[in-house]
């Protein structure tokens, strides 16, 4: 077995778990008692501890163990998640992340820096505080429903508000036609099963297993107002052959002591189950250990508990499992749903982990397949053999399907990226002393993994910018009639074969006059230049607009909006900004869904072939023959359609054909025509990047290879359209010219 690759998996998995933990921690701020979230956090820490132990990363095990113990107390309801503990746990996550990164860089844990060691010690000290704290003030989350928060009266009484049921079904239970789960269903009719712990120790080895026998047992935390007789009655039919113990709420500790005594053969695990059910707290257990309460306590279980025997956990972890599924919720219907969700969250068995490089290779191969297929198809057409042609057509249709499914493999939802910003917003709002909340929508929108990876930095910059410069201080917000809490929004949706990502805030907005003044000062615009507000706003993306006095240590970091724009342009995307003074700002990023393969539309000018992304093509028309020689726009059913003559733009000196065509393209709400010679139809376009030499060329966004093996150029429609709007940014002028055209035409008729 290759240990390196296993360690790679461990590192990747740990990072994922830390991310899950962080997400849950950020969510738990809103609902501190949500048992699902608490379990998710616990599971993450627990699994990291377990798998670190497998690799002998003892430093991680030791550190995580302390955190896990605190989380265990949270789970038992002894400690509650307050903002302080959440902050501490976030730091714990960061510290673990740091250690994981350290390992990933190939270092030894023994060589970590002094600072890391100090952080480690400091966090452990903070965590230990939660372990020492007296548990009396704690509330059990499971008991949240029952309002009467009676403190324990006598010292011999337990704090739990629920019934505890300890069930060991007899071997003949199934044979007598009884089903243990039916009891759970029946109990739900007069109460709530708050927590279930399965007892599996009595399961024999597979070769000794009698499939008709029942080996299972259950430990239940049951919240109900029913009397003992009702609960007792539930088990009437199985009582004789099973061992049913029912402990009412607030029973004396001795009741649990005798229960432990009765289940002595199950040892420490039974105690753990009681703790997990919340029927017994850790403090109560400690009390129970003192000889005064129980004379004959099981010494072996006492000694192992507290060190939380890590070794016994490892076999389950090695098999890729998390801790035994524990379901704690308020009713049965919810319990089923939560179970499904927990399954999904905690490593769905229907998912497989694939090295991203393998996917990239697959997509490259599919790209080559498409090119080879196009060549075959061309040759088949040329051969004139009908059957050959049909076969080639079938082949290319299949190739297209393979392409689509290969590309979807690499599609990921943007939600995970968005959620990462919860942390950013939380930290930055603390840093700035502003109360800002992040609202996320459209997280299910999918795009190519390669794009997602590259969008993080620009988004971080925009979010920080919105918080720093966008959202006003609370006093100012209140004075302007807004709520004190600022809102930053992240939104995503699909539009015309691409994805739109919006970063918006409800802050002060941008002042066009100020920006114009600054742009003039920086020489980016000239005084009195007639620019629309939108054009003025977009000046802030120009290099040299961001200045030192404007950059705070926060959003600055030496990066300006021009870098954001450059990063996005490099992804073949565009960025624009909208703002209303006093109401907020919205930055809209448009990106292609994939950087690999697109549906294209093939056109030709002279000898050269060009590809236009098909989703940007609206329609094709024939260029009207007369009257347009010196014009740059035509009349498309009454609308002004500006157009570009590609022959002229590309300085192609070949003679234009008698009939030219216009491809009407649309992007980001702008429409224009491209005058070309021939329309060659749809084409599966494998995008080859421009490379460094051609990176600066305007109007081109990539290369592709035709069936003939020749290279064709992919047109950069956003770039071309930007040029059109630049040339004709005074729409008034164009429409007055159109009126003139209409006038001329009516005269001609």
């Amino acid at each position: 077995m290759n240990l390196d690759s296993i360690i790679g998996t461990f590192l990747a998995e740990s990072r994922e778990l830390l991310q899950q933990m962080e997400d849950a921690l950020l969510q738990i701020e809103q609902s501190p008692d949500d048992p699902e979230l608490i379990n998710a956090i616990f599971r993450a820490a627990h699994t990291i501890k377990g798998s670190s132990g497998l690799f002998g990363y003892d430093a991680i095990v030791a550190f995580t163990h302390v955190a896990e113990s605190v989380l265990d107390r949270v789970r038992a309801g002894e400690v509650r998640f307050d903002s302080e503990l959440i902050a501490l746990m976030l730091q714990v996550g960061d510290h673990l992340g740091g250690l994981i990164d350290w390992l990933a860089d190939g270092h030894d844990l023994a060589d970590v820096s002094v600072e890391t060691r100090a952080t480690d010690a400091e966090l452990i000290t903070c965590l230990k505080r939660y372990l020492e704290e007296a548990p009396t003030a704690a509330t059990a989350p499971q008991a949240a429903e029952s309002d009467h928060t009676e403190a324990r009266t006598a010292s011999g009484e337990t704090a739990s508000h629920h019934w505890h049921l300890s069930l060991r079904f007899g071997a003949d239970t199934l044979r007598s036609g009884m089903d243990p789960t039916s009891f759970l269903r029946y109990m739900a009719t007069f109460g709530t099963v708050a927590h279930v712990e399965p007892v599996l120790e009595h399961l024999p080895a597979l070769d000794k297993l009698d499939p008709e026998a029942c080996y299972i047992g259950l430990e239940l935390a049951f919240v109900s107002d029913a009397d003992q007789a009702t609960i007792d009655g539930t088990f009437e039919f199985v009582r004789d052959e099973s061992s049913i113990e029912i402990i009412p709420p607030h029973s004396p500790l001795t009741a649990f002591a005798s229960l432990l005594q009765l289940r002595q053969d199950e040892g420490d695990e039974q105690l753990q189950r009681l703790l997990r059910c919340g029927s017994l707290t850790e403090a109560e257990w400690l009390q129970l250990q003192t000889p005064a309460v129980v004379a004959e306590s099981d010494t072996t279980s006492m000694s192992t508990f507290g060190s939380d025997d890590a070794k016994s956990d490892f076999p389950t972890l090695a098999a890729g499992n998390t801790s035994p599924a524990s379901v704690a919720t308020t009713d049965n219907a919810k319990a089923a749903k939560a179970g499904k969700e927990a399954q999904r969250g905690g490593g769905d068995s229907n998912l497989i982990r694939v090295d991203a490089a393998k996917l990239d290779q697959l997509i490259n191969l599919v790209g080559e397949l498409i090119i080879a297929g196009a060549n075959t198809r061309m040759l088949a057409q040329r051969s004139g053999m009908l059957e050959m042609n049909e076969s080639a057509e079938t082949l290319s249709r299949l190739v297209e399907e393979v392409r689509d499914s290969a590309l979807t493999l690499r599609m990921v939802q943007i939600g995970a990226t968005f959620n990462r910003f919860q942390r950013v917003v939380r930290d930055v709002s603390k840093e700035l002393g502003k109360d800002i909340v992040l609202q996320v929508s459209g997280g299910e929108t999918e795009l190519d993994k390669t794009v997602v990876e590259k969008i993080g930095d620009p988004l971080t910059h925009l979010v920080r910018n919105a918080m720093d410069h966008g959202i006003e201080p609370a006093e100012q917000r209140l004075a302007n009639g807004k709520s004190a809490q600022g809102v930053v929004r992240l939104n995503a949706y699909h539009e015309a074969g691409g994805i739109v990502i919006e970063v918006s805030d409800d802050g002060g907005g941008l002042n066009p006059q100020k920006i114009m003044a600054k742009a003039v000062q920086r020489g980016l615009a000239s005084e009195g230049q007639p620019l629309s507000d939108k054009e003025i706003f977009n000046l802030i993306f120009e290099p040299g607009f961001s200045t030192a006095d404007q950059i705070s240590n926060l959003s600055g970091r030496g990066v300006g909006m021009d870098v954001v724009k450059r990063n996005i342009t490099a992804l073949r995307g565009t960025v624009e900004l909208d703002s209303k003074l006093g109401q907020g700002t919205c930055v809209r990023i448009r990106l292609p869904l994939t950087l690999a393969i697109i549906d294209g539309f093939l056109i030709s000018v002279g000898q050269a072939s060009y590809v236009v992304p098909l989703d940007m093509v609206e329609e094709c028309i024939e260029l009207p023959g007369k009257g347009l020689e010196n014009q740059e726009f035509l009349d498309l059913r009454g609308d002004v359609l500006p157009f570009i003559r590609l022959r002229q733009l590309f300085a192609d000196d070949s003679t234009p054909p008698r009939r030219e065509n216009v491809v009407v393209v649309r992007y980001a709400g702008i429409r224009a025509g491209l005058v070309v010679d021939q329309l060659l139809g749809e084409f599966q376009t494998v995008i080859k990047p421009l490379g460094k030499v051609f990176a600066q060329v305007p109007a081109l966004s990539g290369f592709t290879i035709l069936g003939s093996g020749a290279v064709a150029l992919i047109l950069d429609i956003p770039g071309l359209l930007a040029q059109v709007t630049h040339n004709d940014n005074r729409a008034g002028l164009a429409s007055s010219q159109l009126n003139q055209v209409n006038h001329l035409r009516s005269n001609a008729q």
Binding site: K688, A699, L700, A712
Partner: protein, 183 residues
């Protein structure tokens, strides 16, 4: 070495002599001058075939070709040396050069008038290039070598095909060639 097909012969030589490459040079002609490039730069040699023209590029970038799926820019060496455009003839070749720049490997094609041979150049025959009087820019020249009674210029390919410089030239072209308006 047969003179009837120097391209095939040179390709064969390049394949054979990958081991001891230090003093192996590919010699070729641009205009009336002979040049040489160390074989460690040379990936392969192609006979001239169709090139896809890329608009709005400076004239030294003749276009791109498809090299087994990779799109490779073709640089006219005569243009690069400021000697006008290479007129394509039967012996016109593309020398595929591999350059490592900023830790990235770039493939570029050098368009030359003709490829002649792969030869071994003795260290003793190397001469320092004169400070002036060269027909090409000084930084393009690695050395001069005396060979068969004439001088060959050994090229410094990182400079001749500097990706950064080519990109910058392409960028400059941008401002000139976009027709901003036709009024």
């Amino acid at each position: 070495m047969s003179t009837s097909n120097p391209v095939a012969a040179a390709n064969q030589m390049i394949r054979q002599q990958k081991d001891d490459q230090q003093r192996q040079y590919l010699t070729f002609r641009v205009g009336n001058e002979m040049y040489a490039v160390a074989t460690r730069y040379v990936r392969e040699i192609l006979e001239f075939d169709q090139i896809t023209h890329v608009p709005m590029m400076p004239s030294l970038v003749r276009g791109v070709i498809n090299l087994r799926g990779a799109v490779v820019p073709i640089i006219d060496l005569a243009e690069r040396f400021g000697q006008g455009k290479i007129a394509v003839g039967v012996r016109t070749c593309i020398v595929i050069i591999e350059i490592i720049d900023d830790d990235e490997t770039h493939l570029l094609g050098a368009l030359v008038d003709a490829v002649s041979a792969v030869t071994e150049i003795e260290v003793t025959s190397l001469r320092q290039a004169p400070a002036f009087g060269n027909r090409i820019r000084g930084e393009f020249i690695e050395d001069m070598a005396r060979f068969d009674d004439h001088f060959i210029t050994l090229l410094r390919m990182e400079q001749v095909l500097s990706v950064n410089e080519l990109a910058a030239l392409a960028g400059q072209q941008r401002s000139v060639s976009i027709p901003s308006s036709h009024h």
